[in-house]
Symmetry: C2
Subunit: 597 residues, 2 copies
Amino acid sequence: MSNRYRAPVDDLRFALFDVLNTDKTFEAVGKPEVGRELVDAILDEAARFTENVLAPLNSVGDEQGCTLDTATGAVKTPEGFKAAYEAYVENGWAGLSAPEEFGGQGMPHVVGAAVKEMIDASNLAWSNFPLLSHGAMDALQFHGNDWMKETFLKPLVSGLWTGTMCLTEPHAGTDLGLLKTRAVPNEDGTYTITGTKIFITAGEHDLTENIIHLVLAKLPDAPEGSRGISLFIVPKYLLDDAGKTTATPNHARCGALEHKMGIHGSSTCVMNFDGSKGYLVGQANKGLMAMFTMMNSARLGVGIQGLSQSERAYQNALNYARERLQMRALTGPKFPDKPADPIIVHPDVRRMLLTQKALIEGGRVLALFANTQVDLSHAAPGEAERSDADAMAGFLTPIVKACLTEWGVECAYHAQQCFGGHGYIAEHGMEQIARDVRITTLYEGTTGIQALDLVGRKLLQLQGAGFKPFAQMVGEFCQANANDPLLAPFVSELSSLLQEWVATSQSIAGKAAQNPDEVGASAYDYLFYSGYICLAYFWARSVKAAHATDAASKRATAKLETARFYYDRILPRTRMHLAALQSGADNLMRLDADLFD
Amino acid sequence: MSNRYRAPVDDLRFALFDVLNTDKTFEAVGKPEVGRELVDAILDEAARFTENVLAPLNSVGDEQGCTLDTATGAVKTPEGFKAAYEAYVENGWAGLSAPEEFGGQGMPHVVGAAVKEMIDASNLAWSNFPLLSHGAMDALQFHGNDWMKETFLKPLVSGLWTGTMCLTEPHAGTDLGLLKTRAVPNEDGTYTITGTKIFITAGEHDLTENIIHLVLAKLPDAPEGSRGISLFIVPKYLLDDAGKTTATPNHARCGALEHKMGIHGSSTCVMNFDGSKGYLVGQANKGLMAMFTMMNSARLGVGIQGLSQSERAYQNALNYARERLQMRALTGPKFPDKPADPIIVHPDVRRMLLTQKALIEGGRVLALFANTQVDLSHAAPGEAERSDADAMAGFLTPIVKACLTEWGVECAYHAQQCFGGHGYIAEHGMEQIARDVRITTLYEGTTGIQALDLVGRKLLQLQGAGFKPFAQMVGEFCQANANDPLLAPFVSELSSLLQEWVATSQSIAGKAAQNPDEVGASAYDYLFYSGYICLAYFWARSVKAAHATDAASKRATAKLETARFYYDRILPRTRMHLAALQSGADNLMRLDADLFD
């Protein structure tokens, strides 16, 4: 009954190769050598590492947490975290999807995403130490100069150092235009950074010899608001001329660790920059663009964090439901020789399990698909193909982030309910999952912020550039499979949802032109409405793929029944979201703020 | 920004007197002297006690928790808990709704429920110490003999001792028929009790000189299963012939404290009964009936726990949304002199706040209404009135328990989201609420068990005895107000929902007769479908009441706008639940248990 984790390698393989045909993506991005065999080997190796090295440290991290030595500002990570990080680096996981020219293994992002699910599931708190290295790598790869790539990117890729994203300040979270951290130019071209950042994940730790902070700050002559933000590299320790870490501190010090609901093993730091030396990344006052590069990568990553916790919660709930004997089936004893039936015989327990299964397996395909679009956006042969893929990745990023994290919370919830009172007790581990996953709907932009990004930016500002190719793809699938007896029931529902989705998206644009509050009033419900339609599409594709591979297989049966459950019992959530988003902004805006008491 | 609580006395008064006309209930149960003035005074006094004495101990309890001295089995409660309990007893709160003949104050249950909301909101963990005394009081009042009432009931009513409910065992939670605790009759008419109970709330503590355990156990010749369960009184310390506590332990010892997700200040004990002396309550082998008496009282009480945490979460989220400055309103700056607008200007923040407000204020009326039915079931003048009220209380109990606790989790969730990343940090207190309230959907029967009780027992077995008078009341309200211009939009929707509700209830009965799995397959969704319709009814009544009292008041405006929000944006959840419950049992039952992986 303890909190276990077995990497879902088979379903990852199925999603990658059977549903998404990622071998074709690998070819399209000029990496035909990344075939099924190589990916299989990587997944197997990742399964071993995460099950054997990271998973056993999950509860250790929760119990011990990180500790701060207030005299030195040094943060100690839980027992075993450092050794695990060393193994991670030795095995080459740090640079798995980083370009080979910077020392990475050059694997496609979608392979990295599959591995990331296992890392996150096995130990969410630990996964935060390498997480933001990826965002920092992306920012440096796309916005850094050659010296920065040589000096900072390569050690991040090798895992010698880790990275952070220093955005938030006490009074500036979503609204980065309000930030107060200052950067003053020095004569040698560097900058002196002064200010306080909060909620800095992995801001300080004992895993690596140096930490590379990417810090948003304002230059003295910067314009007001978000157009006056610049991005700086601030290493924890200064470097020598050869670019090696010295023992000279750069006045980037952890002032406090936050006391959090969960992910205790992850250090969440108040970082004080007290005249630290910094290097400007990209152009002055254009820091937000580089920040968005980091952010998009981090948002897809946090979506996978949500998925990962669903998977772990589900495995344990399923295990418990098969072992826990309680009451008889409503249709009569199923195991008359036992004192009671296992609770998996009860329809309501199955409802909770199937909800998890449907959201996890569908969500997995959705997340991996979004990552294939990231790969294609970088390296597909045609310009139009790259730009469509980039737009689709942009459209799907807030959906992946918001849906997969909210479903993570939901799955952890169902898993706790399956355990009954035991789900509230620490020893079973379900309550840790519920506490840990709770951060994922908050950091890297809350669910509400994802929704605003989807509607305000991706749908309206970018005029549905990502929605259109996605909708077209769904339409083509429907057309191609409308007469397939197996798929027809799904396709019929999916087609009408697609029509409705297109019409709804257009109608939001029309309403928003009349009243800007309509953007915010429809955003949340539009996001989930869209997310459930996306999943309906990927479930239909999963049924098709499982039957194409082997129609008589257990997998084909399981995918078909889970898809039926999804269409019958989860997809009706679109009715609720549609009604809410169509009800308009008035019912939200009319009540005076003073009358909310 | 710290975690505050202000007792919502005004809305409690409004719900009691304006919406529910409880003065008429007081007259009907022969207590005309309990008028508005007396209740006002009680509510004010309770507000002072809970705000000033209990609320400040809320975070103390979370941080310190209870501690067990393994050498003696004694449990120490957090600092201040004992003094608060003494003040609670001195002020007469312990016996507020207990009959005067046993030393209580004889207040109606509905007044006790209103006071309980404040106690629970101010300190959920603390509230668990007196909570189960109420269940024990009910069990002894209705099933105990005169000696038991004199000896055990009176000290419970005075608060001198507290009570527990010892039901669960490691392998027997929902399925009490599996329990192994044994009761062997002694020659003097007492019994010797041996066994281990888990999850015993307030099983051991330092607040009172004695603790009265109500223990379910099996007699040697008991029939198998739940028909062979008897209920026993087991005091922690033996009594002398005068019924006073002696220093002689009765071998009822706390073996361990559970490590829980929340309510750390509440002691959740493993209780070992090692040859303890017990007294049979009621008839042998009829213990389940007495247990249900305790349970129903406890279930309504836990529903109020859920409500209470919603209220506390909402107050803090609202406060934060008014103070936190971040971004400009989508329609342009509302406070141009400030660096940004308070986040309450944003539609999505309002969505989260109004969801809480609608669920809390509607839920409060629902919970108090259910408690008026408890009062009427005991003491209404006519037999038919008592029996209708009893059936309505029975029908509403699982709805109150499940909905108010699930909404408690939901409101805590929205409140955390309103705080953004700060919602995850301990100092703001939101995460404690989220952890604390999480127990309420698990203990005293999970949400799934409430749903089975509603459909299997209340709807089918009792043939809708409670549903019918409730539906009739809603129908009469619709008829009476269909032509009121203010209420017509609500009534029109409510009427059609009522028709649908009646038809759906009948159809479930029909399907269940064909296939027992349909009970479990529809139960969860039917419960929430019903809960949202109940709330639609109480919201319409609230609008009517607020306008009847003063149509030009701020309250009338606030109730009207919140009701509109509820009907537009929450009530569509019934579409989702209806579709799910109508989809039948097959989509849950078809997948083989081996194929869930």
